[in-house]
C-alpha cells in the first residue's frame, strides 16, 4: 500500500474556509501535503485509525490546524482526546477559529493547545497569518519524531 506522507491535518467544516485556507497555504509556498477532514468525528477517526480510516496507512501529521465549531464532535473535545493520548499529544495543535471568546481560549490552553489564532476577516491578513503559522511550525520549530 501507498504510505501517504502527510504534514498538515486541517480540521474544518466550512468548504469556503477550506478553500481559502488551502489557497492561503498555497500562496505561502507551503508545499507540504495537506489532508482535510470535515467534522469532529472524522478527525478523531483519522487520528486514531478508526471508522473509515481503520486500515488506512497514513502517517500522523506534523501539525494540526483545528477549528473549534465543528459538527458531531467539537474542537475542544478533539483537543481533549489528542492531549490525553501519549503519542498524539506530541503533535503541535494550532486552533484556527473565528471565536475570540475568553472561555474558548482558556479551555484550549487548559487542555494544552500549542497556539490559538483567530482568523482575521481581511484576506490579506489571513494569508499572512497562515504563512506565519506554516513557516513557524513546519520550518523554525523543532519537534520530536512521532
Amino acid at each position: 500500500m501507498f504510505n501517504k506522507f502527510i504534514n498538515i491535518l486541517l480540521v474544518e467544516d466550512n468548504p469556503d474556509d477550506v478553500e481559502l485556507t488551502m489557497h492561503a497555504l498555497k500562496k505561502s509556498n507551503i508545499a507540504n501535503p495537506i489532508e482535510v477532514v470535515r467534522d469532529g468525528q472524522e478527525a478523531i477517526d483519522y487520528l486514531f485509525y478508526k471508522g473509515k480510516y481503520l486500515n488506512s496507512k497514513h502517517s500522523l501529521p506534523n501539525l494540526i490546524l483545528l477549528d473549534l465549531k465543528l459538527p458531531k464532535v467539537n474542537g475542544i473535545e478533539i483537543l481533549h482526546k489528542i492531549k490525553n493520548d501519549r503519542k498524539l499529544k506530541l503533535i503541535p495543535v494550532v486552533v484556527l477559529t473565528s471565536s475570540k471568546e475568553e472561555n474558548d481560549i482558556m479551555k484550549s490552553y487548559d487542555l494544552g493547545v500549542n497556539s490559538y489564532i483567530r482568523k482575521p476577516v481581511d484576506f490579506d491578513q489571513f494569508v499572512e497569518t497562515v504563512k506565519q503559522i506554516g513557516f513557524y511550525w513546519l520550518l523554525i520549530n523543532e519537534r520530536p519524531q512521532v
Binding site: N14, D16, D17, H23, S99, F123, D124
Partner: protein, 501 residues
C-alpha cells in the same frame, strides 16, 4: 442583656402581687393593733374606775393608810399592773411602788409625750380616756391616764376652786399583746407569701401558655422561614384556632409567610428566566463573533482572489466594485468587533484595583506614536490621578477617547491634544482642537451607532463613545463633553478617585 418574655411576665406578676399583698397585710395588722389598743384602753378604763371607786372613800376621809392598803391589794391581785396616783404637780401621792411616793412622776414615767399630755390635762381639766405606749429597755408598756375630778366630797380638803385634783396612771406590761400582734403579723406574712407564690405560679403558668409559648413558637417559625422557603418545605401553621391578638398575629404571620413564599417562587422563576436570557445573549454574542465573521471572511477572501488572479479578465468597473465589496466587509468586521466589545463591557465583572491613569494614557499615546509623529500632533499630558477601576475597561475608555481626538483633528492645522486633571471639578479631561460638534447633539454622541459625520469624512462605527459612557457608568462615574464647531472638543470623565490610606 436578653430577658425572656416568661421572665418578664414573672417579674411583673411578682411586683404587682407583692404590692397588693403587702398592702393587705399592712392594713390587717394595723387594724388589729388598733382593735387591741381599744380593748386595752377599755380594760384599763374599767380597772382605773374600779381603783378610783376603791380609793375614793378613804381619800375623802384622809385615810391614807387605807389607800395604800387598797393599792397593795390591787398589786397582789393584778400582778402586771403598776398604779401611780399623782397631784396636779405630778408628785406621786400614792403608788404600788412604795419607794416612789413623794417623788416626781418623771422619775418613773419615761415617755415625755405622756408627761406633756398629762400636764395639759391637769391644767385644762379635760377628761381623757387615753392609752399611750411606752418602752423601757426591751420591754413595752401601755400607760393609761385617768384624771381625778374635784367633787363635793373632796371640797373639804381641796376646796372647790380646782377642777382636777390629780391623776391615776396605770402602767401595764404590753409584751404579751405585742407578741400576739407579732405572731399575727408573722402568720399573716406566712400565709401571704404562700398565697403570693401560689398566685404567681398559677398565673405565670397560664400566661406562659397563653402568651409566651405561642410568641416563642412564632419567633422560631419566623427565624426558620427563609430556610424553609428556600428548601421548599414551607407549609402554613395549622393550629390557628385562637381569636385573640396572638391568633391575629399568627394569622398575619401565615399571611405574610405565604405571600413571601409566593414572592420567592416568582423571584426564582424570573431569576431562571434572566439567567436563561443572559445565556442566550452570550450564545448570541458567540454566534455573532463566529458565524457572522466566517461568511464575511469568505466574501473578502474570494473578492481578493478575484482581484489578484483574475484582474486581466475584469474591467476597471468590476475591479472598483470588488474593492467596494472589500471595504464593506472591513467596515462590517469593525462593527462586529466594536459591538462585541460594547456587549462585553456590559456583562463582564468589574475587577477593581488602584490604577494610575497616567500609565494607561502614556501606553496608548505610545501605541499611536507613529501617527502622532507623522501628523506632527502636539501632545500634552498633565498629572493624572490614581483611580479605583477595572484596568482593561479603563484602557478601552482612554483608547477610544484618544482615537477620537486623533480622528477629529485630522483636518486641523497644528493639531493639539491635551490630557489632564481638573482639580476644581475633580475630572480628567481630554481636549482637542479638532472639528468639534454642535452642543445640540451632546446627548446623542454617547448613544450606540450615533454618528454626526459622513463615513467618507470620518470613519467609525458609532460605538466608541457608547463604550466610553458604559465604562464610566459601570464605575459609577459620569462623562460629558464641551464642544464648539471647528474649535474643538473637551471630554470630561469623573471617576471615584482612589486616595491612598
Amino acid at each position: 442583656m436578653r430577658v425572656s418574655l416568661s421572665v418578664k411576665i414573672l417579674v411583673v406578676l411578682f411586683v404587682s402581687v407583692a404590692i397588693v399583698m403587702t398592702a393587705v397585710i399592712y392594713l390587717t395588722v394595723t387594724h388589729q393593733t388598733e382593735e387591741m389598743l381599744k380593748e386595752v384602753t377599755a380594760n384599763s378604763e374599767e380597772t382605773a374606775s374600779t381603783i378610783y371607786a376603791g380609793i375614793k372613800y378613804p381619800m375623802s376621809v384622809g385615810d391614807s393608810g387605807a389607800v395604800e392598803k387598797q393599792l397593795l391589794e390591787i398589786k397582789d391581785r393584778l400582778k402586771n399592773i403598776e398604779v401611780f396616783i399623782c397631784d396636779t404637780n405630778k408628785k406621786i401621792v400614792f403608788s404600788t411602788h412604795l419607794e416612789s411616793i413623794k417623788k416626781d412622776l418623771d422619775n418613773f414615767i419615761l415617755n415625755k409625750n405622756i408627761l406633756d399630755e398629762l400636764s395639759y390635762y391637769l391644767k385644762s381639766g379635760e377628761l381623757p380616756e387615753k392609752t399611750f405606749e411606752e418602752q423601757i429597755g426591751q420591754k413595752k408598756y401601755l400607760v393609761h391616764i385617768h384624771t381625778v375630778q374635784n367633787q363635793e366630797e373632796c371640797f373639804r380638803c381641796h376646796g372647790p376652786q380646782k377642777k382636777v385634783l390629780g391623776a391615776i396612771l396605770l402602767r401595764k406590761s404590753a409584751d404579751k399583746n405585742y407578741a400576739a400582734i407579732a405572731t399575727l403579723k408573722n402568720n399573716n406574712m406566712f400565709v401571704s407569701i404562700l398565697g403570693i407564690f401560689a398566685v404567681i405560679l398559677i398565673s405565670h403558668t397560664l400566661m406562659v401558655r397563653v402568651i409566651s409559648r405561642p410568641v416563642k413558637r412564632l419567633a422560631a417559625d419566623i427565624r426558620e422561614l427563609p430556610m424553609r422557603i428556600s428548601d421548599g418545605s414551607y407549609s402554613v401553621m395549622t393550629d390557628v384556632d385562637r381569636t385573640d391578638e396572638v391568633g391575629d398575629m399568627q394569622n398575619s404571620f401565615n399571611h405574610m409567610a405565604s405571600e413571601l413564599n409566593e414572592k420567592t417562587k416568582a423571584l426564582e422563576r424570573s431569576n431562571i428566566k434572566i439567567v436563561k436570557a443572559n445565556k442566550e445573549l452570550e450564545a448570541f454574542a458567540y454566534s455573532v463573533s463566529h458565524d457572522l465573521r466566517a461568511p464575511l471572511r469568505n466574501i473578502d477572501g474570494f473578492s481578493k482572489i478575484l482581484l489578484d488572479e483574475f484582474s486581466q479578465q475584469l474591467d476597471e468597473k468590476a475591479v472598483h466594485y470588488l474593492r467596494r465589496v472589500r471595504n464593506g466587509t472591513a467596515q462590517m468586521s469593525l462593527l462586529i468587533d466594536d459591538m462585541l466589545a460594547f456587549s462585553k463591557i456590559g456583562r463582564t465583572e468589574l475587577h477593581l484595583t488602584p490604577v494610575n491613569c497616567g500609565n494607561i494614557v502614556n501606553s496608548i499615546i505610545e501605541y499611536y506614536s507613529k501617527e502622532i509623529e507623522d501628523r506632527n500632533i502636539s501632545i500634552e499630558i498633565g498629572e493624572l490621578p490614581v483611580v479605583r477601576c477595572d484596568t482593561i475597561m479603563m484602557q478601552s475608555l482612554f483608547s477610544n477617547l484618544v482615537a477620537n481626538a486623533l480622528k477629529f483633528t485630522r483636518n486641523t492645522d497644528n493639531p493639539r491634544i491635551t490630557i489632564g486633571y481638573d482639580e476644581n471639578i475633580e475630572a480628567i479631561y481630554i481636549k482637542d482642537n479638532g472639528v468639534g460638534f454642535d452642543m445640540e447633539y451632546h446627548d446623542k454622541i454617547f448613544q450606540v451607532f450615533q454618528r454626526l459625520h459622513l463615513p467618507e469624512e470620518y470613519d467609525g462605527t458609532g460605538i466608541g463613545l457608547a463604550i466610553v459612557k458604559r465604562v464610566v457608568e459601570r464605575h459609577k462615574g459620569s462623562v460629558w463633553a464641551e464642544s464648539e464647531l471647528k474649535k474643538g472638543t473637551t471630554f470630561f470623565i469623573k471617576l471615584p478617585v482612589y486616595k491612598e490610606g
